[in-house]
């Protein structure tokens, strides 16, 4: 069942997530404090979608980004901006990897950004 679901829903997931991550990178780069809460919410949604889809390597990456975004939302510190941006860029790369090889969602070369 999961193979069928993955084949059907992965392209949608990649498209949505690509857009969301790009928006999060944009607002974080511009230090748009008003958008930090929205970024947290969007990443939470992406994490849930990745989890349901069974993307076991992507799920912890997005959760990690979500935690970093929460921290930035609460502190607004410049250091937290850089940390989140690094994590988001890494996530964007992983999503592009999914788009390039949709048959291999569980890529064991993926490592979590720290």
């Amino acid at each position: 069942m999961m193979d069928d679901l993955l084949a059907k829903f992965l392209p949608q997931f990649v498209a949505h997530t690509r857009t969301r991550v790009a928006a999060a990178i944009g607002s974080t780069t511009q230090r748009d404090r008003a958008s930090f809460a929205k970024t947290v919410s969007e990443l939470h949604t992406v994490a849930g979608e990745a989890g349901l889809l069974g993307l076991t390597d992507v799920f912890p990456l997005v959760r990690d980004c979500e935690q970093k975004a929460k921290r930035l939302r609460d502190t607004g510190a410049e250091a937290d901006v850089e940390v989140l941006l690094a994590a988001l860029h890494h996530l964007a790369q992983v999503i592009e990897g999914l788009a390039a090889s949709p048959g291999r969602p569980h890529d064991d070369r993926v490592t979590t950004a720290r």
């Binding site: 069942m1 949608q12 069974g54 799920f59």
Partner: protein
């Protein structure tokens, strides 16, 4: 039993003679004959083959027959057509017909049917039709809950309801405002999820409407004014006589509430492929209406949503609405926090989205005691 004569119901009837083929509908089926509504006729005694079918009730069955009688249209409710007399020399055909009629005439049983109502969506801008269905539901069904009728005034509203819920049958009027019924039927047939939904088209439009709706993919066309008793007998069979291939899980209904359209679509696809009937809600208003209309056996609620926290929703259902069916919180939150929220909300448990869809389906089966 509410009415005595169960011998009448509606089927799709495809007549093939040596020179013509026509698709229409038939009723008044007996072991020896059926009346088919059609403008086509040939000489009495002409041999034909008639294929009888109705989704989920009657697999396509070819029956050799001959034209026994021709009737011109009379009063409303007495359409013109031909009576086909079956050649029942084949034992196989005879047994199929007898088995079908025995099912029609079987006394009402409420064992399996008590689990789920037969869900019907009527797409018609006429209030009269809706009132007639309300009347018919009360009159022809001993158990009022056996048939759950929902309405939509036009194609767009119907499409919205079809996107959110699963129906056992959709009845579509041909003459609808803005988008006609044939166009809506074509949309259903081209939609991957909805393409197998049984569709009965209805209209006062006669032959043109019949050809348009059947060409678009309707299973059966019935003229208005409806042969109401026959239609309700057909609905009764749908409601109370599931085909043997129907899985037990199909009769369990799950309502999913999540603000992510993607999560809703994915969850619904997984649960429907597991055999459940699924309705979805993306906001509180939709959730409220689906709770009332869909009568779910299980509710899955996301936790962090813009309008409300899922645990607050669950607690409200438990404490203030007296809802006793299982409720599961579904979230990507940390499992410890999710467990605390589920306990506080008096939910039946929780599912981590990170555990994946297979685990979600497994938990639903477990809670609803449905075998994989």
């Amino acid at each position: 039993m509410a009415i005595a004569n169960w011998g009448r119901f509606i089927v799709r009837a495809e007549i093939h003679s040596s020179s013509d083929s026509v698709v229409s509908y038939g009723f008044d089926l007996t072991e020896s004959s059926i009346f088919v509504v059609t403008e086509w006729h040939a000489a009495i005694g002409t041999p034909v083959t008639v294929r009888l079918s109705f989704p989920k009730i009657l697999e396509p069955t070819d029956v050799p027959a001959r034209i026994g009688d021709i009737r011109v249209a009379g009063e409303p409710g007495e359409p013109g057509g031909i009576r086909l007399v079956f050649d029942t020399s084949s034992r196989d055909i005879r047994e199929k017909l007898v088995a079908l009629l025995e099912r029609v005439n079987a006394p009402i049983t409420t064992t399996a049917a008590e689990n789920r109502p037969c869900r019907v969506l009527i797409v018609d801008d006429s209030w009269l039709i809706r009132d007639m269905f309300t009347y018919g539901t009360a009159k022809f069904f001993e158990r009022p809950g056996a048939l759950a009728v929902d309405h939509a005034e036009d194609a767009e509203r119907a499409w919205g309801k079809l996107a959110r819920s699963t129906y056992d049958l959709v009845i579509i009027d041909y003459f609808l405002p803005t988008e006609d019924g044939a166009s809506l039927i074509a949309r259903l047939r081209s939609d991957e999820r909805l393409s197998h939904t049984p569709i009965v088209a209805i209209s006062v439009g006669g032959r043109d409407a019949r050809e348009a709706t059947l060409s678009a993919g309707a299973d059966v066309f019935v003229d208005k004014p409806l042969i109401f008793r026959d239609l309700f007998n057909t609905l009764r069979m749908l409601a109370e006589g599931p085909s043997p291939s129907r899985q037990a899980a199909e009769r369990k209904a799950i309502l999913v509430f999540d603000d992510s359209p993607f999560a809703l679509a994915l969850t619904r696809a997984a649960l429907e492929s597991a055999g459940f009937t699924v309705a979805i809600a993306g906001d509180l208003t939709s959730f409220e209406s689906q709770c009332a209309a869909f009568n779910p056996d299980l509710i899955l609620v996301d936790v962090q949503m813009p309008e409300a926290f899922g645990d607050d929703v669950a607690l409200t259902l438990r404490r203030w609405r007296g809802v006793e069916i299982p409720i599961l919180l579904v979230s990507s939150l940390d499992p410890n926090e999710l467990a605390r929220r589920a306990q506080r909300a008096q939910a039946s448990g929780y599912i981590c989205k990170g555990a994946g869809m297979s685990e979600l389906v497994r938990r639903c089966r477990e809670l609803l005691e449905v075998a994989p």
